[in-house]
Symmetry: C3
Subunit: 243 residues, 3 copies
């Protein structure tokens, strides 16, 4: 399976062209868009989101992962293998948490060259063909040369910020469930937010609460409302854990 984790949007031309490349290069491998609205142009929050959601997929999955503000610059193109899952994308920190949390990890700089490489759409011209080749059985070693990825040891193990606003207006933090005490309050957007087991456990309509979501991130929601608008939350908004 090839899983897309990008900031490309779905309606426009980017995801469609990428899917077309995958389909033509690896016609028997299903391609699924997981996120087409990953934090746009900001690899740091995207890295925490990717690590949380990739863990749910089976080990043989190939992740086409493109949040790439440096496209066209000298930033390298990467294949990262972490606990069996393979990630294809820019060497800009997007794989930092996936690599840090892996039992075993290895990286390659992509040396495979496409017949034509545009200056602005490496997702289509470089990363998608490489992801499709991996998914159809080619080796990492045949597509790149071993390197050490650019690492970000200064980034925390869990990020006390909003990393994603979902379709319902729920605000996902970069904090894994196990790192937040079950009874802790979260401070965000000027409010003190108590935990709840789930949506139906919250009595008051319009009340904010936090819970550990189905991909193990602490998430702030409002019962029958939008947490992003109600609390003024956006990607990058800081969150404080108050136990």
């Amino acid at each position: 399976m090839i899983v897309l984790f990008t900031d490309f949007g779905l309606a426009g031309p980017y995801t469609g062209q990428v899917i077309a490349v995958l389909q033509q290069t690896a016609p028997d491998v299903p391609a699924i868009s997981l996120f087409a609205d990953a934090p746009a142009g900001t690899p740091k929050p995207a890295a925490y989101l990717l690590a949380a959601y990739a863990a749910w997929f089976p080990p043989e999955t190939v992740f086409l992962s493109v949040v790439d503000p440096g496209v066209g610059s000298a930033r390298r193109a990467l294949i990262a293998e972490a606990d069996g899952r393979r990630y294809v994308g820019p060497d800009n920190g997007l794989f930092e948490l996936v690599l840090r949390r892996a039992g075993r990890a290895q990286c390659w700089e992509i040396t495979w060259q496409p017949p034509v490489l545009s200056a602005s759409f490496h997702g289509r011209d470089l990363f998608a063909p490489v992801a499709a080749r991996l998914a159809r059985g080619e080796d990492c070693a045949g597509l790149g040369r071993p390197i050490a990825a650019t690492r970000h040891p200064e980034w925390p193990d869990d990020l006390a910020e909003i990393v994603y606003i979902d379709h319902y207006g729920n605000a996902l933090t970069g904090l894994r469930g196990a790192t937040v005490p079950a009874a802790a309050r979260l401070l965000a957007g000027g409010e003190v937010i108590a935990p709840a087991a789930n949506f139906s456990a919250v009595g008051d309509e319009g009340k904010a609460f936090w819970y550990v979501n189905s991909n193990d991130l602490a998430e702030i929601a409002v019962n029958r409302g939008r947490a992003d608008r109600g609390l003024g939350l956006a990607i990058g908004t800081p969150v404080v854990v108050a136990s």
Copy 2:
């Protein structure tokens, strides 16, 4: 075919994870998203929308139908079979109109248990695996036990409210075409709206009209404009039929 009728959104992680489950469980069955923007968290308007659009699909279709404000509560998980089509989702009224309009119908409470069930994402953990099993040929009786679904006899046969705003700003009512006299006026958003055969039959740019759409719902539109903004229509806005 598995058809998705949900309020999950497409860009975020929910539809992608559901498609991944369907793909892995029933790899040979195509999965198609019909609505990813069904009325969020409101099963009543969603029930009228689902009944109108499901009727267009062939009888063997499996509908993965998730508008589920009570996820995590004691609400039951359901398989409904109505005129050959099967529906998998929460027992919260979402299948009321499908069941009411069916010549023959039967329901099962899902007893199949996933290895892991999150508190907040039964669409991925419970409903998708069951829908995929039905689509690949398993029996309803092997996945659940016969029950009577929770019914809503107090809901009308046709709902005189807006049940959906589409991509163009057109406002769909819960009224089937045959229940509205062809010459009737609709009152909605403080305006009196005359019928028209179709968009090109309306001369004035910016003029509101109603017509019976391609899935047999009375729909309010504005020629070269957005009816939702122009008339202040939203899901739940009442509509009056004035003959």
Copy 3:
């Protein structure tokens, strides 16, 4: 491959129903949405967008192309073949640039009739079944009769207007890269916009620039910002080339 170029949106019911028709009629042919947010109801800018993006696809591709403000009127339904690629959609100018730029081109009026034809959704009832039949190997001549498409010689070869706003807020013009001198300034939204090789070549955050995008259209962008909001650009905004 069947490629969708429409203004249907993805979340709502339109694209899903079209995909269902394609899947049932040509189950072995992949269907990919390229644009679901083509300029709504405006065939002229859509024609320049289609021509730029279709050129990237292999010759055997079938394009289901529906931007159709005249649905339900007497406008004809068309198959256009241009340099091997086939296009199915309304005869309203949408294929003007594809036809004009083709080495060899031929058109047919669709005479194939569906069992049921709704007044408002020819994409589902007429164009999708015809596109699927072409994709599975049927001849144009068996589905229509040769005609001359309605042409628009008054439209320019390149359109000095914004024809699309993408997911990032970048504004695509209808100008092919080769028609704009590399050092030219573009005037749009009251600003003078200088060229840049790509995003990473622009130093200042918030600064507008233009470049030739990966499908050979001149595109206006803002480094780490949205050009549409920053410059007040929308589909139809005029652009002046100042060399």
